[in-house]
Symmetry: C2
Subunit: 286 residues, 2 copies
């Protein structure tokens, strides 16, 4: 998905929020905002939004000298999600269709995104869960459940720390032995890495690989050869979150996108109201 | 008032909204956004926000070849306000303190600002009027009413087309022979010029001057010598709107600011919630 002009004020705001989150020094805030303005003025709008976000967050890590400025935030979000786990499990257990409920909750978990919002509270997450329970299902459920039933191999692209606890509940509904979970190759924003997958206990359930990239999305040409092989070989790909949608919506493959539409550009792109919980499939099998 | 880093994403959004309002050509939109990003990356944050806005809107007029891209919008806003006039007059007539009611309504009229919002509807204006009727008065009313009672000369700095109809109702509550109304020297956004003052019939009530500037605020060094003389000589200055506040809040003088706090930067600056109707005085008489 290309970047729109509407994305640009949002990049600048995100960069400022991120700079404030990782440093108390106003000169750091100003430096990062000025750099983002300068880059953006010459930006290739054919690139997807995570390309610029990758660049912003690399630079933030350079300026602050921290390899993982969101480490504490991620630990907090993981704990918050783990605290919700008993309630989420109970919802799935009592649901007439546990797989459908697990999908709804996995989409709700996508609210835990510090790229789209400067902060996420437990109240935000509980609201999203409530919305998942009440909102009619908007995606093509039959197509998704048939694909799950038929796939011999599923590559599950995680999105964020905290959210990954919700992903575990969905993965447990599949036969996990056919699932590979992919996380980011290095820290960026609050995106999930191997450490977050382990906190959620996912290493006890599925094979986990990292994608070799520090982009907040899946930019295939930036990912490792091993990841690209898995991507090409998978019968079905489940891609969580806006960043994976923005970077993969043009890629051929049996890809299902699960996300909460948290910005108006994405909402307009999929033709659904802002805040909608989306299960979408954009391209047919190769 | 200095520009903050939080103003910058807002500038970029405003520039995009303005470009879309004045042109259907996406290349014009992209060109103006890229220029604003480039200027902003080197911007002197000691300047007030209207300095950059002046630059953006000059460039928009250059690119589109239109001397007044908001001409139609201003005509619509003036008509909208004129349609509300009978109701507004009735509110003032039936109020226990007509001057206080006229002040409240003049502040409510400041919602008609296409710089802060891409569009303003009659419903927005009616909501602001309702808020003015219901909200407790937050400014120093005694100081203001005493200053009005004592002033031999009042310089009234108008802000926007449409809003200027509300200003007329307030000016009529003074003894208008001691009032001079100042409007912008040239079109910028939907700021009021001589033409808008005439539509509101103000030329029948007070002396009107223009300030010689095309900034959406009052940058004294950019204003005409005649305006600066009037400014220095006035016993009392009433400055409408955020732009006049942003450019004059540091200027010594008997200045009363009347505006609706429409952005979080301004709301934080005055220490009041977003959306508050403000009557403020920041500096003592010279």
């Amino acid at each position: 998905m290309k970047t729109t002009l509407d994305c640009i004020p949002c990049f600048v705001r995100q960069a400022l929020e991120a700079a404030r989150m990782v440093s108390d020094d106003p000169t750091v805030h100003e430096r990062i905002v000025r750099e983002v303005l300068h880059w953006s003025s010459g930006m290739d709008l054919n690139q997807s939004p995570p390309v610029l976000a990758q660049r912003i967050h690399r630079r933030l890590r350079e300026i602050t000298g921290s390899t993982d400025p969101y480490l504490e935030a991620k630990a907090r979000l993981n704990r918050m999600a783990m605290d919700l786990l008993p309630d989420l499990k109970a919802e799935i257990k009592s649901a007439p269709d546990p797989l459908a409920m697990a999908v709804r909750l996995a989409i709700a978990g996508n609210v835990i995104d510090l790229g789209a919002h400067g902060s996420v509270t437990e109240a935000d997450v509980r609201r999203a869960v409530q919305q998942a329970l009440e909102e009619p299902f908007s995606g093509n459920w039959d197509e998704f459940s048939q694909a799950v039933a038929q796939a011999r191999s599923i590559l599950y692209l995680a999105d964020n720390a905290g959210e990954i606890v919700f992903d575990r509940l969905l993965i447990e509904q599949f036969s996990p032995e056919r699932v590979t979970l992919a996380v980011r190759g290095a820290p960026v924003i609050n995106d999930a890495t191997l450490a977050d997958a382990r906190v959620a206990g996912l290493h006890e359930v599925v094979d986990i690989i990292d994608n070799g990239s520090d982009a907040p999305g899946t930019i295939l040409e930036d990912c490792s050869p091993e990841f690209r092989l898995r991507f090409a070989a998978a019968d079905m790909i489940i891609a969580k979150g806006q960043g994976n949608f923005e970077t993969l919506s043009h890629v051929p493959g049996n890809i299902f996108f699960l996300f909460k539409a948290k910005c108006s550009v994405i909402a307009n792109h999929v033709g659904l109201p802002l805040g909608t919980h989306v299960l979408a499939r954009f391209h047919p099998r190769r």
